[in-house]
Symmetry: C2
Subunit: 490 residues, 2 copies
């Protein structure tokens, strides 16, 4: 499997692209910028979806489904939304094909032109707030706490599997509230849900903060975000949660009778994570031997490989392997037993290592004699022997340890790659090498853009409760009272 | 809730439309033909998805995701597919909007025209078989047993919520096999999976059969289907499973080295069910008091309503209600306790009856004294008293009984509305009144179409193992050796 596989320090970007394809996670399709998510990749995404969906429901949200298409005119209703968003998108102009009169094949029927073009949703605030108008009359109808799992399309010019694709899968929460405070608290709460998911399921440490005005979502008053650091020192935005104020309620005329019996515009949030998280997961943990998956998101947590010379041995080993498999399944651990006869154990070892199975159990004739198994853990590549007694609990502990170890390792990496600088020279030198760089900034969009122009670095976030200290902007020298986090980013 | 609610025998079609909207299942959106699936409707769809997804996985299938868009030229590759299908569909011609130079708003940027138009998938055979070409080289790569949960778009002119919408949600299985026999068996197996789901989850009896050549899926060699009878005597096609032969493999050049080391085209199936099942579920069981849901698909199986005169009583009843709730949750029964103080018990009774909660438990002060509860079952509208001891098991049995009773009732209805006729006169008279009509047919498309023209009835299916008997076609009088099932259909 790992033949012709580029190493991370040779070419990180190529390593990533190869890994995604060779590990059977995703591939490019015949349609520019659109990916095919292959079964193994999709199984990881399903694990993510299940965990997130439960977290959303546990915090009081319900799912619904809104149309794929949005009338073009809707995008003009929220002024900053259209500016920041709706330009690069897929436009449906016709609703019929017909047989080509001049030959074979089909052509677009010019008579089937839509009166108003439809946009394939790049995000659903507009169509959802147009719908909410009919659902909200009084404070009794609030809050609305709704989430949608859907595909969205943004016509990206440069695409990369999972990280930036024209079509991607995501969830988008859209909530409606009586008060500014309640909506703000909701946006903040969902940021915590995302951070919880990133750290406890993906084993990926994240920084929490708010975006600078320049990097805010189009139409938001405040954008909260989580940012993770990848192994090449670049930042990746892993989720955003927006406090939308009354902007969409005003654009779509959504008013309610409040407790004082007065008409008021509704307060809103929206929040989303996407299949981009797959890219983050892959880049955060994987190594030169292939994919590394945290046990909580691995489609199979354990694989059992038999080592045998003849059918009799295979039969004896299979009996033991199935016994182990049953005992693991019973305590909720997912296991694959690979007894295929047309692949060698060595081939299987490579395969499962490359695909990031957290634990491999090998059983040979000697193991049967000694009542042992050989364990290989994917995170550290260590191999060791375990005795059979109480094996399932040892495996359970091992999975917990792998989950924690991956998080710890990623956290250590981030800490070692987080720097504090105070001069423009240090900043330029440091940012060039990668990592999170904490520096003072004068708070203006002008400076932010000049820094970006000069170094390609952006402000990833402003800490939510920044440590107050007197300082001077690394670029303008103007006074500043806290540091913000810069990085080059995906 | 049930105020101004049309009765079934007044206007069945209006009854359905009102029920879907008033029970908060779905509504029309601002986009022609596209629906919004509201949280309560979506919760039922999620239950369906979970059950089906498990059945697919238990039969060896995995999920994946393929692009929303399909290049226009793909549709021309399988000749009968384009004829039967791709005409009424959403066509993407541009990928950018720009600010209207003459004023406010946005217009389509004429410079951002796609070289080749993209079609929003009406079904995914073409893009999937284009992808499979890269995945299949040898018999070792087979079978591929893949399913996709997705949205699809067919530009329907007359739409009805759930039953026929421009965009709908569905699953589409696409499998690839070494041999004709294996593929045929797969298509047949998935028909059984669908029938199992319809009967055991939806409590909806279905007939299994094959479509006449005229009604086959575009590109299929054989289309299996399940058909259910609605309360107005019209048939509803609830799922189809297609044996595609080598048609798509040939159109997309998907060949494999077989066990004799010879290149051969791959054999295919596809099969799907959609949010149309929501329409079937609603129409199969519901009544003039609103929705009726089978316990296995109800978002909540039980609701508990307290009846009280003062806060002290509410507190005492709540303590008992929560105890019941816990004991039901423990054995896997979903329960809602509605202790809202701003709605009367009468309002709540109506609400939950209208929304089809299978069991309502009411608890008043006298119940506390007597250690009893009042039960109302939605299917029969019966009310009775149960004592508290062992209540959770009584509720469990009751839910089982409701599930079975709904199936039995629907089966009795179907049996009472299935008729055998032998003359054209009887046929016309019978088909006008509704129901399944078993009649002889000469096997020609010509006759099939003439019957449809004259009566609006179509051949719903040809039984898989028809009872052989000598007869004459009701229309042409030509000899026929078995009966087929006619009906007017949704």
């Amino acid at each position: 499997m790992a033949k012709d596989f580029t190493k991370r320090d040779e070419n990180y970007s190529q390593w990533y692209n190869e890994l995604v394809v060779k590990a059977d996670l995703a591939e490019n399709s015949a349609v520019r910028g659109c990916m095919v998510i292959k079964p193994y990749g999709y199984a990881i995404w399903e694990k993510m979806q299940q965990a997130l969906d439960k977290m959303f429901k546990d915090t009081g949200h319900v799912n619904a489904y809104f149309p794929l298409f949005i009338p073009k005119s809707f995008f003009s209703k929220e002024a900053s939304h259209v500016e920041g968003f709706a330009k690069e998108c897929a436009v449906v102009t016709h609703y019929r094909l017909k047989t080509d009169p001049d030959g074979k094949g089909v052509v677009v029927d010019p008579e089937a032109k839509l009166e108003e073009e439809l946009i394939v949703r790049p995000t659903s605030e507009t169509i959802i707030w147009d719908t909410y108008r009919g659902w909200i009359q009084s404070y009794r109808d609030l809050p609305l706490l709704i989430n949608q799992w859907a595909n969205v399309v943004r016509w990206e010019m440069r695409t990369r599997l999972f990280l930036r694709t024209a079509e991607f899968l995501w969830q988008e929460g859209h909530t409606a509230h009586e008060t500014r405070e309640e909506a703000f608290a909701e946006a903040r709460k969902m940021l915590d849900v995302y951070a919880d998911f990133a750290e406890n399921y993906m084993a990926m440490p994240v920084l929490k903060g708010v975006k600078s005005p320049n990097e805010r979502f189009a139409g938001a008053e405040e954008t909260f975000c989580i940012e993770a650091l990848m192994q090449d020192g670049k930042a990746l935005q892993a989720g955003t949660s927006h406090f939308l104020g009354q902007n969409f309620a005003k654009a779509f005329e959504v008013q309610f009778l409040n407790r004082e019996n007065k008409l008021e515009y509704v307060w809103a949030t929206s929040w989303g994570v996407s299949t981009r998280l797959m890219g983050a997961l892959i880049m955060c943990h994987s190594d030169d031997n292939g994919l590394v998956l945290p046990p909580k998101l691995a489609p199979y947590q354990v694989v059992i490989v038999p080592i045998y010379k003849n059918p009799e041995q295979l039969e004896q080993i299979s009996s033991k392997a199935n016994q182990i498999r049953e005992s693991l399944l019973k305590i909720g651990i997912s296991v694959k037993y690979d007894n295929r006869d047309n692949f060698t154990p060595g081939w299987k070892f490579n395969e499962y290592e490359f695909k990031g199975f957290p634990i491999r159990i090998a059983i040979g004739p000697r193991d049967l004699e000694n009542q042992t198994v050989e364990i290989a853990r994917r995170d550290t590549l260590e191999k060791f022997i375990l005795t059979m007694d109480g094996l399932e609990l040892k495996i359970k502990d091992l999975l917990d340890d792998i989950q924690k170890n991956l998080y710890r390792r990623a956290l250590t990496f981030r800490e070692e790659n987080t720097f504090t600088v105070d001069t423009w020279e240090d900043f330029c030198e440091r940012i060039e090498k990668g990592g999170f760089v904490l520096a003072h900034w004068d708070g203006t969009t002008e400076t932010e853009e000049k820094i970006k122009e000069a170094t390609k670095a952006t402000i990833r976030l402003i800490p939510i409760n920044p440590q107050v200290e007197a300082g001077r902007c690394i670029y303008s020298g103007k006074p500043s009272s806290y540091r913000v986090v810069f990085a080059k980013a995906y």
